[in-house]
């Protein structure tokens, strides 16, 4: 046989055969790759069809304009015939504000609306560290949101002007010195507290001064007595400030320079306002506490370690509901008589602890996943414990834990509905019950749940997408 071969003419590229192209190829590979897969595909399609066929009329016959459930049903019967089903969204149209604000007075709605807008301003430097373009988009979006919603909520002119000026100023700042925006993030909690609960402006300012005091004590004591004792001294000083000086000092200042918003009692809070207040505060505080607990659990110091382990295991071992009941009953016994601890604050503290215990374990997993060499290299370069943790260990450990951390956050946010059990008006059970107690809407079942569920889904899905974006952004290992 002749083994010689040489090509005289090069082959032109051809399109792949039809079975290897586009939709046909995709279906063959994904839906009908084997007899079993084909059967499953058909069964799946049948199930989807059955679901849609059963619920579609209900969606299509939706009623948006009605005064009561009875009227809704009459309209459905009239347009779609006797026996037809139809959703009654008219209820949402009439009661949406309770789902969002609970019993927060309507003429003050601009306060939670503004607080929500500013929340995202405060988050901007955290979510998009140093990315001016993303921050500009976010802040621009917030400005538009505020202008529209604040107008709709009939905000007092002075507050409106101040709010818009603040957001525009911060937008400008984010483009010039994005890092400085973190200062706004730092004061946001006090600002938000004041906006939502009202009262004298001096209370949050004096409370913030407690943190300044903590920092100053730490700063000046650290070189003399060392980092840990100095931190302890700072905390003691701040706590003393809050316990004994907070009231008198803010009273004094209010006397001299009275300025404040109408005080709103906690029992008027409800719906998503309540869920978001508890959820966001819980998320913001549970992460640092969780990190400290995870580090404490790995500590060489026996007491720190035992306390961390004990706390984590106890809090994780008890249902959240139990902790919430504790919040509403037991704390009252333990705290010195006369301290009237706000119920929302108590719930926030326990929800935070609950999430922190879970986060501590999640982060411990991330810490364990780091090779020993990272600790050794940090040590060998002369980084002290806290610097090594902050610059080397935690960035990596937190990065690998992002999916689990965000899961915990999502869980925490959804668990805020459990506050219904201690008599707070969560959007799912609390508000829905109130709506159903109205004779007009008695018997309405699916609509409030679907509405509340949809809002929860949007928020949680947003968190999940953000975590995926973050993971991708932080991916540097190039494996």
């Amino acid at each position: 046989m002749d083994q010689h071969f040489s090509r005289s003419e090069m082959l032109p590229p051809l399109a792949p055969p039809i079975t290897e192209r586009g939709a046909v190829k995709w279906m063959r590979e994904n839906l009908f790759s084997s007899p079993l897969n084909a059967i499953l595909t058909l069964l799946g399609l049948a199930a989807i069809y059955a679901l849609v066929a059963a619920s579609l009329p209900w969606w299509l016959n939706s009623v948006w304009n009605a005064e009561s459930l009875g009227q809704c049903r009459a309209i459905v019967a009239e347009t779609a015939g006797e026996g037809a089903t139809g959703a009654c969204w008219a209820m949402i149209r009439e009661r949406w504000h309770q789902f969002l604000f609970g019993f927060y007075p309507p003429d003050q709605w601009w306060r939670p609306i503004l607080a929500l807008g500013l929340l995202f301003v405060a988050l901007a430097p955290v979510l998009f560290a140093g990315q001016k373009r993303n921050m500009a988009f976010l802040l621009g979006g917030i400005a538009v949101y505020l202008v529209v919603t604040l107008t709709l909520a009939e905000t007092p002119a002075a507050a409106f002007a101040l709010a818009v000026a603040l957001v525009l100023g911060l937008t400008a700042l984010s483009q010039v010195q994005p890092g400085r925006l973190l200062w706004f993030t730092a004061i946001y909690p006090a600002l938000c507290f004041w906006l939502l609960w009202g009262g004298t402006v001096w209370a949050p300012i004096v409370a913030m001064a407690g943190f300044v005091l903590l920092y100053l004590v730490f700063r000046f004591a650290a070189p003399v007595i060392g980092l840990t004792p100095a931190a302890g001294a700072g905390i003691v000083a701040a706590v003393l400030w809050w316990l004994y000086l907070q009231g008198p000092v803010s009273g004094l200042l209010q006397g001299a320079l009275p300025f404040g918003l109408r005080a709103i009692n906690s029992d008027l809070f409800g719906g998503f306002l309540l869920a978001i207040v508890i959820g966001v505060t819980g998320i913001a505080f549970s992460l640092p506490i969780g990190i400290l607990l995870a580090l404490g659990r790995q500590s060489d110091m026996l007491i720190v370690k035992t306390l961390s382990v004990g706390f984590i295991e106890f809090v994780r071992g008890v249902p959240l509901i139990t902790l919430l009941f504790t919040a509403s009953l037991l704390l009252q016994y333990f705290l010195p008589p006369g301290t009237n601890f706000d119920i929302i604050l108590r719930v926030i503290i326990l929800v935070t602890f609950f999430a922190a215990a879970y986060l501590a374990e999640v982060i411990r997993g991330g810490l364990a996943a780091l090779p020993r060499g990272q600790y050794e290299a940090a040590d060998a370069l002369g980084l002290d414990y806290w610097r090594a943790q902050r610059l080397i260990i935690l960035p990596q450990a937190l990065k690998v834990s992002i999916p689990a951390i965000v899961s915990t956050f999502i869980g925490l946010f959804k668990d805020t509905t459990l506050v219904a059990f201690v008599g707070l008006m969560d959007p799912l059970k609390g508000v829905t019950q109130i709506v159903r107690a109205d004779i007009d809407w008695k018997g309405i079942y699916w609509e409030p749940y679907i509405f509340v569920g949809a809002i929860f889904f949007i928020i949680c899905f947003g968190m999940s997408r953000y975590s995926m974006y973050l993971e991708k952004k932080l991916k540097t290992d190039h494996r």
């Binding site: 050794e376 370069l381 980084l383 540097t476």
Partner: protein, 255 residues
């Protein structure tokens, strides 16, 4: 070998270890270690696996704690005092077998991190120093990549540069080439040889006997946690005294 002789060794003591013992639980891993390292000395430590070489050099920057005896580095004794430990660690650079670069930071950030946070050098100056040492290890163009994008040999050179950015007076190497493919070993050894020629005090655990002959002025042989033999490289290789050394040399040079 002729070069080794040219290099200066001063009469100033860099590291002084006397009567040092260390245990892991019940296991007596380092036994009565005595050694003195002069400034500018280049010492190669070799010995069979598990003989305590890594443990010994890790005691010098207190990655491991010793239980008995004295270790004095640059005039500072290693005790439980954290201040002393930090001081020694900032004077002593260490290069690991598995590089241990920080994967979440760029090469440049890896190099500037410790100078900025430990030495409090301004960022700009730290970056200039970092670029200088990156050029020195011949990879300035990789400054903005992440460690995962570099070859093993490049990563190890970055690790050496990272230590050098702290301007250490002593460098420790723990088998810096044994995780590398043969073609990359040379680039790392060249960097180390250059460093030796500049007079750096070096303690190097390695089985690269060519390197030992080229730059070391002393070879230390360890077995079972003890220093069994030490000598100038020429004599060490040509005329080993102890039976264990002879056996070890025949094993690693035999084939």
């Amino acid at each position: 070998m002729a070069e080794a002789a040219k290099m200066q060794v001063s009469d100033e003591v860099a590291i002084q270890i006397t009567g040092m013992n260390k245990w892991y639980g019940q296991f007596h891993v380092l036994r009565d270690i005595n050694m003195t390292v002069m400034r500018g000395e280049r010492i190669v430590i070799c010995g069979p696996s598990g003989s305590g070489k890594s443990t010994l050099i890790r005691c010098i920057n207190r990655l491991e704690e010793h239980q008995q005896g004295q270790i004095i580095v640059d005039g500072t004794e290693l005790t439980n005092d954290l201040k002393n430990i930090d001081k020694v660690r900032s004077e002593v650079g260490m290069v690991f077998q598995h590089f241990n670069l920080f994967p979440h930071l760029t090469i440049l950030e890896n190099l500037t991190l410790a100078p900025i946070w430990v030495r409090k050098v301004p960022k700009k100056e730290a970056e200039e120093t970092a670029m200088y040492f990156l050029s020195k290890v011949k990879i300035p163009e990789q400054a903005h990549k992440y460690p995962g994008q570099l070859s093993g040999g490049q990563q190890q050179r970055v690790a050496i540069a990272r230590s050098l950015c702290m301007k250490p007076r002593i460098m420790l190497f723990d088998e810096p080439t044994s995780a590398l493919d043969p073609e990359m070993i040379k680039e790392v050894l060249d960097t180390m040889i250059q460093l030796a020629q500049e007079g750096m005090t070096m303690l190097c655990v390695t089985h690269e006997m060519g390197f030992a002959q080229a730059v070391a002025n002393r070879v230390i042989f360890m077995d079972q946690g003890q220093i069994v033999e030490q000598n100038a490289p020429k004599e060490f290789f040509s005329n080993p005294q102890s039976e264990r050394t002879k056996l070890f040399l025949s094993q690693i040079l035999g084939h």
